[in-house]
Amino acid sequence: MILFKPAVRRALGWATIVALIALALFGLWGAPPDSIQGDAQRLMYLHVPTAWVAYLAFMVTAVASALWLWPRTRAMVWDRVAGASAEIGVLFTALTLILGSLWGRPVWGVWWAWDARLVTTAVLFFLYVGYLALRRVPAAPDARAKRSAIAALIAFADVPIVHFSVEWWRTLHQQASVFDPSLKANITGVMALTLWLGALAFTLLYVYLLDRRYRLAALEENMEEHELATAIAERQAGAGTPGPATMSRSINPELSQ
């Protein structure tokens, strides 16, 4: 029913809070302003970590869905993890798009540009919004898990195709700062530290939220089962006493003919 023991979860929660506060301090005061972009560049310490968490979350959804589909590892835990992770992923994709838009306005002069990475992220957002819509359709848990797992894998398999097609279509985005192999991390010192701190803080936040969402999903399922059991019990208790139809039949046998 739970991913982590309560003590671990509490420790994780506190670690997340500490890391986020440290990130805020470093991001707003610790790191120097960018030589060209000035203070606007500080949005990077949120934008890049949220994008990272979004990708991580969708990766986890894909792995959990595959584990659910694989007969030997099939368990409801994977379905719940997949659903919880996708919800966090959609939230963080939306945050990435919004933060990127806020950053793009002062730096590029526009809220939105039809650049490859932006378009891919937007398509990613819609892919998983569809997945969440599918998950929300009421169905038997097993049927829903199967449908959702297959849909998650289709979406995941589609991501590289979307990426390459959009990449060929157009490219304008600035090069990635840390992961670009040709530039060999042209961001250094406190700025690099802050960025890594951001990645750490948001990863902790992701794990914490995943645990909480997982617990909620388990409780929801429990409640549904409980309500169903109660309804059945009530129905069975009601069947013991004769209803008006059976009574009239027993009093007047001709009526039933």
Binding site: V123, F126, L127, V129, G130, Y131, A133, L134, V137, A139, A143, K146, R147, I150, A151, L153, I154, A155, A157, D158, I161, V162, F164, S165, V166, W168, W169
Partner: protein
Amino acid sequence: MNLIQEASLMAGKDLRIEARSRVTIRQIIPFGLITLVLFAFALDPDRGILARVAPGLFWITILLALLLAISRAYSIESANGASDALRLSGLDPSAIFLGKAAAIAVELALLEVVLTVGVIVLFNVSVASVGFLILAALVATIGLASIGTLYGVLASGLRVRETLVPVLLLPVAAPILLGATRAWEIGIDGSISDGWPWIGILFVSTLLFTAIGMLSFGSLLEES
């Protein structure tokens, strides 16, 4: 019976129903044509905009018509317990998938022929390389039919099927729309050496969607 025979049996059944009910001819094709006319209302026909954006408008129309075709392909299975009969038929689920996809592809191809004539006449487009256009359309159509059939069965049996399919399908089909549109722009221009990456994208997506469909159709059909 082997896979191909079973698949053609399935496709034959769907196309026979189609030939008798004429939903494609009486409803889907007129829908496509009126959409082309509406595009001319929305975009000024006098400034040559229509000719420039014709490939995009064409493929958007096909994508919308695909939604109707999927809905139709699964509404014929939901009547009279036909989906139970399908499950009991003993046909290989992969063959059922291929057959249904093939039937949708044939209907779409028919619509594409009519709409191409429509685009050439109404939007005043002249095509330089017809062969390239046909190649791109062929691969894109099979890909769209595959992914449509897959999401159709995924959502079949759900009460929200008709609203759920578009939200699932359109983002996944985005690369096909992109590839087919760019390929058609290039085919109309005639500089086809630039067009092969797009044919590649279309080919890879079609292969991927068909493979996933063949693998997962059986277990999805059980739930429908």
